[in-house]
Subunit: 219 residues, 2 copies
Amino acid sequence: MAQTPSRALTRECIAAAALRVLEREGLAGLSMRKVAAEVGAQAASLYWHVRNKEEILDLLGDAVIADAELPPRTGDWREEYLEYGRRYRALLLAKRDAAKVVAGRLSTGPRVLAVLEDQLDRLRAAGFTDADAAMASYLLSAYVQGFVLQEQSPLSAAEAAGAGRGQAARAAGDVFRALPAEDYPNLVALADDLVDPDMDTRFEFGLQRIADGLAALLG
Amino acid sequence: MAQTPSRALTRECIAAAALRVLEREGLAGLSMRKVAAEVGAQAASLYWHVRNKEEILDLLGDAVIADAELPPRTGDWREEYLEYGRRYRALLLAKRDAAKVVAGRLSTGPRVLAVLEDQLDRLRAAGFTDADAAMASYLLSAYVQGFVLQEQSPLSAAEAAGAGRGQAARAAGDVFRALPAEDYPNLVALADDLVDPDMDTRFEFGLQRIADGLAALLG
DNA sequence: ACCTGAACACCGTTCAAGT
DNA sequence: ACCTGAACACCGTTCAAGT
């Protein structure tokens, strides 16, 4: 199982191996020993190329963002801003536990810089002040990361235990409906509205509100 | 150090102990053995009261929310919505790593239900449809959790290593300013705007945009 | 310069055994 | 019913030793 010793260990190949382990075992199952085994080495060997596990997670964060693509220029800043949000979400959903990996990690990889540069360019061209453009960009990434983080984690112990998402949602609805109506009239009345909408709908709702709020700045 | 054996172990006292360990050691340092030691028992004893560590984290999530208070009724739904967001952020910032604990955990504790019930009541009274009220409530919690999550995690390896937040931010600004201006004209030009604003300002910006976007629905 | 073996100080969880 | 001791299968990290 050991790699041919002529092929030296590199940070790139450690990152690729870590990505495969992440996909297979999830973030909780990602250990130095498993990453080492994936490249046919001992755990201790990794420490020659990498300071610690945290640095492997940094590499992983960069790898997740690596295939980000810029949305086409339509001339409509609002549509482009929405599209940026949708693509970022899709990118995070594409890799297992990606939102958790990226969560509070600031990457200054070339891909991230290119995306940020392009985003700021479009917002300034649309007429936003420098300060507002910078804040609007930060707002988008905070919203998307927060949203996907909730989306990727099981929404209840039941779902974690293996029940399907739909089943878990129905159970949540039952909780709301079973509440005493005199104490919780709104929860009982809105049980369906709280539980039914799927994640795409929820995401889009927030994204549209944010875009509308930004548009109001251009007044 | 052992507790008097007449005082039995309960889930409540386990939760309180876990909260103290969290405050002292952070989420990464929270172990079954340390929680057990905090109540003067063996780690194995906890498993009589609790299914596993995950369930302790659930208790912790409830405990974090436990002292949530409802904002005063001003008759202005927008101001009340903003205040809800600010208070939720303050609550998460008050306990160490609280955002990470709460992150993808759905709590149905009585405090959470009371808050949700009250929030929905105000939004409906303001004229939002049932569906929009439900979505607006979800949006707020997603935004606040995502924001604080980024806020509570070190924004760079430098800060994790002990440098102050201001110092780390200045270093980030230097990164932007040092980029080649022909490749990254916007990043270079907006370096200050990207780095200078403090977290309160960033949070408020997003909150105001979201409230404005919601207001547009009432049109 | 790069990698390994062995060790250290931890984990979460289980389970027979005690009271 | 409730708690313990001891064990199992893991962790991240260090470090002398090998090549």
